[in-house]
């Protein structure tokens, strides 16, 4: 980097006031926002601003003069100027057409073009954009944040509120197409698809889960681990439970609109060991209750 005194064009003996005045003079010419179309202005301004940052700080200036530090690293870091936003495609609500309003009054092709472009630009709200987002069942119950990739390569982080249902549409204000003038952007409308879950099904605010239990657990009862959307809980299976027995976990369902939670129902399913067990066979054949017929009395 160049000598900061040379960059600002001041003598090494210059006073703080002289340094400020020299900087201002240069900055008025070189400030990128005062040169919206001049790409080189930014580089030059960075140099000038870096030199001023160094010399306007009495301590840094003293150390530089003493040779303790050099001018490298004095450049200002990458900076976004107003012009970067003012000329973006997002539309600049401050941009003013009065600088060429007289051209529009003429009767020629340019005037016609300008009039048309003003009409379409004048403060129109951007379009609403429609998207589709698939959400895991568990996330639809507990809520989550999910990233949505847009066709233009950008992303939106979509906040999934707890208790969302399949087919519901979320509206993200201002995430649609950009508007024109002061019209503001449209909204993003995101239709949510809740992916089915292997374990859970939902009916209203209640969730049902089918839970396999062993013969031992069915006959003798006991504690079992049960998955819920918010994590596993322990539930006690009562003695003598059967396939189809429904147990309720209060408040473990989906959030209710207006407060509270639905319930989770656990439907038990008694499952015998996968491979026939000779010991079990021997026991059942000597079991006193083996002649119990659950079909007795049922309509044929």
């Amino acid at each position: 980097m160049k000598n900061p005194y040379e960059v600002l064009g001041v003598a090494q003996t210059a006073s703080a006031a002289e340094i400020q005045s020299a900087y201002r003079k240069l900055a008025k010419k070189l400030h990128p926002d005062l040169n919206p179309g001049d790409k080189a202005a930014e580089e030059k301004f960075k140099e000038v601003a870096g030199a001023y940052d160094l010399l306007s700080d009495a301590d840094k200036r003293k150390r530089f003069d003493a040779g303790e530090i050099d001018a490298s690293g004095a450049e200002r870091p990458q900076h976004h100027y107003y012009r970067d936003f003012a000329s973006s495609d997002q539309g600049n609500p401050y941009a003013d057409a009065s600088g060429f309003a007289d051209f529009m009054d003429e009767d020629d092709a340019l005037a016609e073009f300008l009039r048309r472009s003003q009409r379409t630009r004048a403060n129109r709200r951007g379009q609403d954009l429609h998207y589709h987002l698939a959400v895991d069942f568990v996330d639809s119950i507990t809520g989550a944040t999910q990233r949505l990739n847009l066709p233009d390569g950008s992303t939106i982080d979509v906040k999934i509120p707890p208790g969302l249902v399949d087919g519901q549409t979320l509206r993200l204000k201002g995430k649609g197409a950009p508007g024109t003038g002061k019209g503001g952007p449209g909204d993003a409308l995101i239709e949510i698809e809740v992916r089915p879950d292997r374990r859970f099904t939902r009916e209203g605010d209640d969730i049902t889960l089918e839970l396999p239990i062993s013969l031992t657990e069915a006959v003798l009862g006991g504690p079992v681990r049960v998955p819920t959307p918010t994590g596993d809980v322990t539930m006690s299976v009562p003695k003598g439970s059967n396939t189809g027995t429904k147990l309720r976990l209060r408040g473990k369902g989906a959030p209710r609109r207006g407060g509270g939670q639905g319930d989770q129902f656990v439907r038990l399913k008694v499952v015998l060991p996968k491979t026939p067990d000779p010991e079990l066979e021997a026991f059942v054949s000597t079991w006193k209750g083996k002649d119990y017929n659950p079909r007795e009395g049922a309509a044929s």
């Binding site: 400030h31 100027y81 107003y82 600088g99 204000k173």
Partner: protein, 93 residues
């Protein structure tokens, strides 16, 4: 990014009285809906610009008025030129 007034104050580092004055002068024109102000990234950049003009370049309030008015016209002209270039097929999209 859309910001509330409070978020804008935090992000820009402006004092609330200063912001009120700038709003009064129409140096900043945030969107307004349901009585709430909503600021965008361009408003932050514009606030930094105004601060730079005052603190670094020594412009006074009268000067800011003039500079912003001319600057907004330059950007309006640049926009019109971009659209014209697109219209005559010389633009990049």
């Amino acid at each position: 990014m859309r910001m509330t007034k409070q978020e804008f104050l935090t992000s820009s580092g402006l004092q609330v009285q200063v912001l009120e004055f700038w709003l009064e002068q129409h140096w900043l024109i945030p969107e307004e809906s349901a009585g709430e102000l909503h600021f965008q990234d361009i408003d932050i950049a514009r606030a930094h610009l105004i601060r730079g003009l005052k603190d670094d370049l020594g412009a006074n309030d009268e000067g800011i008025d003039v500079i912003l008015h001319l600057m907004d016209q330059v950007h309006g002209l640049r926009r019109a030129l971009v659209e014209l270039r697109q219209q005559i097929g010389g633009g990049r999209g």
